[in-house]
Amino acid sequence: MQAKKNQKNQKNQKNQKNQKNQKNQENQEETDNMLEIKNLTKTYKGGKTAVDNLSLTVRAGDIYGFIGHNGAGKTTTIKAVVGIHDFDKGEIRVDGKDVRTQSLACKKAMAYIPDNPDIYEYLTGIQYLNFLADIYQVPGKEREERIRREAEDFGIYSVLGDLVSTYSHGMRQKLALTGALIHEPRLLVLDEPFVGLDPEASLLLKRKMHAFCEKGSAIFFSTHVLEVAEKLCNRIAVISGGKLIVEGDTKELTRDKSLEDVFMEVTHHDKAD
């Protein structure tokens, strides 16, 4: 009788352990999810549906490329993620937190750079970076080290004392990138990050993107340059007419084809439908 009881107890304990493990695994997966978009729908005033029931997940360590035609809904999705646009349906979670109910926590966990970084022109470069460091509460010594390192890497250290209004487009892009890295975000959201950068800076950015994700953070970025996306991203999503048409591992998606071929195939197939 006692043996039977022990057996039952052992079985129960095993079940509980299994359940716990399963739950931990699920939690682990959830905490690994840097960005989760579920059934996102955004309709603009006037009736145009820019994003239609879009779902995707960006995990820690991912360099996630988001590609599509002009007007496909990439920027709208990105703006919904970073808190610029509200949305009609769906859910967006950044590092496990809901962007609607825990907006400030989400914003603290990420950094965003738009395709045309219009930075506060009335500040000098260093004032801008120091302002960001204050807002994200980066301690004094750490901010000095990070600013020096990133600004020197991007080659803008010597102009940090000048007004942003004197910067070229590329320099602004570099300053925005420096500012985005100042608080070591968990998720970096970039809209066309390579536009306006010189070849050297592009190469540097690619290296930095890899290094950033190796530390366990993630990057979600849109681009039109398919060669870059193919080489850089481990995961890719293609959006057309606001709908996600393909999503997955870059290698699995392309196999023996180029990303360009895949893109043309899926987008034209979608239009034909």
Binding site: G83, L104, D118, E121, Y122, G125, D134, Q137, I147, L160
Partner: protein
């Protein structure tokens, strides 16, 4: 060239007042907002026309109808001069839009003329709103001949040219001088403020005619008025000579001088325009930065510092929003130095200072608080502010705090001057301090609330936000109403001054608190303005 001018003017007019947006937007709410703004404009134009009509009637009633065109012409010219002076740099010499336009196959002269024309058209509208009611009242009262209306038509057409040219020269000179200094914007702000003070004091001196002479010495008074107008703006007398006396020579003199000055300026400017634009927009870049110790600050302090830098980076923004504070100091210093009666005469309201001084003081800065366009001034950088991890409340209060910091020295100077000069009793002193303070706080918070309703982020020139923005306009109306109600009450309810002061301050503070509470609930984070 005419075609080029027409097309370029059309282009700049598209951006003005949001007509094009109204035409093409599918957003019903936006359309409704435009309609409401239109209705408000019509209301204000009618108010202005009514005021002009009454002033003209007053002048004709006391036998000084001769001065109606002169006074109104001078009023339009002064207002045109004042507004163009601050616009000259950012509109006429705007390098960015010049670069966009000069790449097109158009002549530099076409660009200049088109920019002048867009400013001219808005100024001419002001001329119409002011001159037409005055002419109508004079016409009914004095029954002048056809030449009065014919000459009046030409006067309205040419009236903005001279102040427009003079203000462009002054504006360009100020921008040029300021550009040579390291702190160019500050220099530009100071120089423009000095000019504003000169204009304000100059135009106020017109109202300080000795009323004891009224009736008994009408001729002497007319002479005094003629001399004062002549000193301040001689062409105004030419207008009266032409329209009232029907002297064609004076009309030709006015038209010739206006057009001549404009064409000479155009000719000179045409030769150096590109260089002037470049010179005025040139920014110093040193490229020799060495890192010093970076100080960590609190979020609020950092936000306020950013607001401070934004504010003083724009001379148009500062000059327009600081005028109220400046007028508050002028009023206080005027009362302290010249006495209550003298200021009463200036205001044209006998007993105004005695009865309504705290309200008058407070009403000045509330007309155009810097917060009324501080959200819009974020412009294309608005994405940055939206994505910062700061709450809506922090953002709003950083802007309100800046308004309070900016207003504080003006408030203190005004209060100290009045308390030292008037030596009020305790109760009077308390309300003299409390009512303007309540107005300043109310204006600062209301400005943000209004700007949240009428934000404009897509602009190329700060002028579009500061001078043409709906929120700035609505704020003037709110300021006028918030001042007019207690002033009327103070005149009607004699002997209940303290009660009216207390009620006014209480209502203003209550409204400020309510705005803060309701606004917080309605638009809790994420802070968006779709």
């Amino acid at each position: 060239m005419t075609r080029q001018i027409r097309l370029l003017t059309k282009l700049s007019l598209y951006g003005m007042f949001g007509f094009n947006e109204f035409r093409h937007t599918r957003d019903g709410k936006k359309k409704l907002r435009f309609c409401l703004m239109g209705a408000l404009w019509v209301f204000l134009i009618l108010m202005l026309a009514g005021y002009v009509g009454l002033t003209s009637y007053g002048l004709t009633a006391i036998g000084m109808g001769y001065f109606v065109p002169a006074v109104l012409g001078m009023l339009v010219s002064l207002v045109t001069f004042f507004f163009t002076m601050t616009k000259a740099g950012p509109v006429l010499f705007d390098q960015r839009s010049y670069e966009k336009q000069v790449a097109l196959p158009v002549e530099a002269k076409s660009i200049i003329v088109s920019r002048f024309l867009s400013m001219y058209l808005t100024d001419m509208l002001l001329g119409l709103v002011v001159m037409l009611p005055g002419m109508a009242v004079y016409g009914v009262a004095e029954k002048p001949g056809l030449t009065f209306y014919l000459y009046g038509f030409f006067v309205i057409l040419f009236l903005p040219l001279l102040p427009l040219t003079a203000a462009s020269v002054v504006g360009a000179v100020i921008a040029g001088i300021a550009g040579r200094w390291r702190r160019g914007n500050l220099a530009s702000i100071l120089l423009t403020m000095i000019f504003v003070c000169v204009i304000l004091v100059g135009s106020m001196s017109l109202g300080s005619l000795d009323e004891s002479q009224l009736g008994a010495m009408m001729e002497e008074m007319a002479l005094q008025l003629e001399q004062q107008i002549g000193r301040l703006y001689p062409p105004a007398i030419w207008i009266s000579e032409a329209m009232v006396s029907g002297k064609a020579a004076w009309l030709l003199l006015f038209l010739g001088v206006s057009l001549g000055c404009f064409l000479i300026f155009l000719e000179i400017l045409g030769r150096f325009y590109g260089r002037v634009c470049q010179m005025l927009s040139a920014r110093e870049a040193r490229g020799n930065y060495q890192m010093e110790r970076l100080q960590a600050k609190s979020v609020m302090r950092s936000l306020v510092e950013r607001e401070w830098r934004r504010y003083f980076a724009s001379s148009v923004y500062v000059v327009n929003t600081l005028t109220g504070e400046l007028m508050m100091v002028l009023l206080a210093v005027g009362v302290a130095l010249a006495g209550r009666e003298a200021v009463d005469r200036l205001l044209g309201l006998p007993g105004a200072v005695d009865r309504t001084l705290p309200v008058l003081l407070g009403a000045m800065p509330v007309m155009m608080p810097l917060t009324a366009c501080s959200l819009s001034m974020e412009g294309k950088s608005w994405w940055m502010t939206q994505t910062l991890p700061v709450s809506r409340r922090e953002l709003i209060w950083s802007k309100v705090n800046l308004q309070l910091i900016v207003a504080l020295p003006f408030y203190l100077v005004s209060e100290v001057a009045l308390i030292v000069a008037l030596r009020p009793g305790l109760a009077e002193a308390v309300w003299l301090l409390a009512v303007p303070a309540a107005y300043i706080l109310f204006g600062a918070r209301t400005g943000i609330a209004v700007n949240e309703k009428f934000p404009v982020f897509d602009w190329d020139s700060e002028v579009k936000v500061v001078k043409q923005g709906a929120s700035a306009f609505v704020m003037v109306v709110i300021g006028l109403v918030s001042a007019a109600v207690p002033i009327i009450a103070l005149f009607v309810l004699e002997g209940m001054q303290i009660l009216v002061y207390a009620f006014t301050a209480g209502v203003l503070l209550l409204l400020t608190w309510l705005m803060d509470r309701i606004g917080r609930k309605k638009l809790s984070p994420p802070y968006r303005l779709d």
